[in-house]
Amino acid sequence: MLAKRIIPCLDIKDGQTVKGTNFVNLRQAGDPIELGKAYSQQGADELVYLDITASHEGRKTFTQLVTRIAEEINIPFTVGGGINELSDVERLLNAGADKVSINSAALRRPELIDEIARNFGSQVIVVAIDAKCIDDTIHQNGDPMIDGTWRCFMNGGRLQTERDLFEWAKEANERGAGEILFTSMNHDGVKAGFADVALRRLADTLTIPVIASGGAGTREHFRDTFINGHSDAALAASVFHFGEIPIPELKQYLIGEGINVRL
C-alpha cells in the first residue's frame, strides 16, 4: 500500500532557509543542504525547496543550490518559486529537481500546466494553491471553513483573485497537474491543524494526490489530515525546523494510529 508522505518545506532566501509566519516575519533556520540531509536521514519522504528571492541574481543562486541538493540528497525533492515559463522548468529539472511547483504563473496563464505536462510529463508538476476562506459568517458549528467561499491568491498570498479554490484545483487536475499542494492561508502559521474539511473535498473530487499545507502544530494534526482530510501527504516547516515535532517520533505515532507511513 502506498504510504502517506511527510514533507518538510524549506523556504530559501539568499541561499539560506527561512520560515515565515502568516507569510511575514521571516526567521533564520539553517543551511538548506544540511537541513535537507538531516530530514532525509530522519525519514522525511520528500523535500520541498521554495525560492522566495525575487531577483534575477537570487534565481541564479537558487539554481546552483538545486544542483548541489540533487548531488547530495537521496530522496525526491520539489522546487518552486519564481517559475514563470517552460524554460524555468527546464532549467530546474536539468539542475536535478524531481518536480517543480508552480503557483502564480499557473493562475496567470493556466496553459503553462498543459505545456509542462506535454514536455516533461504530469509527474513533474505540483500545482501549489494559496487560498483563503473569505466568509465572515461563523456557522453553527463555529467553523466558517466548512462550506465557505475559498478564493485563490497569488504573489505569495498578497493578491486575491476571483478564482474559486475547488474549481481551480479541478481545472489544474484536468490540464495535467501531477499533484495539488493546497495551503490554507487561514490555517498557515496558526498551528491549530490543517484545513481538513476543504482538503477532504479536494481529495475526494480530484484524481491526483493532494498535499496538505498550513496549520501543523501537533502530531494529532497530521493524523487528522490523513484520516479526516483524506490528504495523501502533509507538508510543514517550522514544527520540523525548530524540532517541535521530530519526524521519527511523528511517524511512530502515526503508525500507532493505524496510518501507513514509511519507517
Partner: protein, 196 residues
C-alpha cells in the same frame, strides 16, 4: 570499476549519475556501443514514454547493443519496461529481454490514483540485488504502467493488484522503482548491484 549509464532521450538520468557518484564512483554517460560493452556494469535508467524512447534506441542501434550485453545490467523505471517484450504504452514492441507484457494500471477505487507516485513496499525479494533484505522495505515509485507477476519477478509490490516491482534474467536486473531516490534502502540495492 567502470560504470556506464545509457545515454538516450529519457528524463531524470542525472539523478542516477548523482547516486553513483555518492557511492564514490564516477560513471560515464554514453550511447557508444564499444564504451557500453567495455563497462563492468551498465545502468539503463530514465523516466519517459515507451514508444518515443524505443524509437530513439532503435534509430541508434542501441536496442541491439543493450540486448547483447554480457555484464550485469540494471534497468530502472522506463528502462525496466523497455527491457520487456511489449508495452501497452503507445503499443510498443520493446527489447524482449524479459518475456512479459507491460500493462496500464486500471484504477478500481477513487484512491487508486494513476500514476502511482510515492513510497510503497517491495516484498518477496530474491536474487543478489536484494542481498541483506529481511523484511518488506519502502522504495520510491513514479509510474502509470506495470509488469504483471511472471517467472522473472524478484520483488513484488501491491498497488491495485500485486505486480512485479523488480525483474531478473541472466545478467539483466531491473527495478520499477527508483533506487537512486529511495534513501538508504535504494543505496543498498545499488551497492548490491555494483558488487555483483
Amino acid at each position: 570499476m567502470k560504470v556506464a549509464i545509457v545515454k538516450y532521450n529519457a528524463g531524470n538520468i542525472c539523478s542516477v549519475i548523482n547516486a553513483i557518484k555518492r557511492m564514490g564512483i564516477e560513471p560515464i554517460l554514453t550511447d557508444d556501443a564499444d564504451e557500453l560493452r567495455a563497462a563492468d556494469k551498465v545502468i539503463f535508467p530514465g523516466q519517459g514514454e515507451a514508444s518515443s524512447t524505443m524509437e530513439y534506441l532503435k534509430a541508434r542501434g542501441l536496442d541491439e547493443v543493450i540486448k547483447s550485453l554480457k555484464q550485469p545490467v540494471l534497468g530502472i523505471c522506463i528502462g525496466m519496461q523497455l527491457m520487456c517484450k511489449h508495452s501497452e504504452e503507445g503499443d510498443t514492441e520493446c527489447l524482449g529481454i524479459f518475456d512479459t507484457e507491460v500493462k496500464r494500471f486500471m484504477p478500481q477505487r477513487h484512491e487508486d490514483k494513476v500514476p502511482q507516485m510515492g513510497w510503497n513496499t517491495v516484498y518477496d525479494t530474491k536474487s543478489k540485488l536484494y542481498e541483506g533484505f529481511t523484511q518488506p522495505e519502502f522504495v520510491y515509485f513514479v509510474h502509470s504502467y506495470y509488469v504483471p507477476l511472471c517467472e522473472h519477478t524478484i520483488a513484488t509490490t501491491d498497488y491495485i493488484q500485486p505486480y512485479s516491482s523488480s525483474l531478473h534474467k541472466d545478467n539483466f536486473y531491473a527495478t520499477q522503482f527508483h533506487p537512486e531516490k529511495s534513501g538508504s534502502v535504494g543505496e543498498r540495492i545499488l551497492k548490491n548491484f555494483l558488487e555483483m
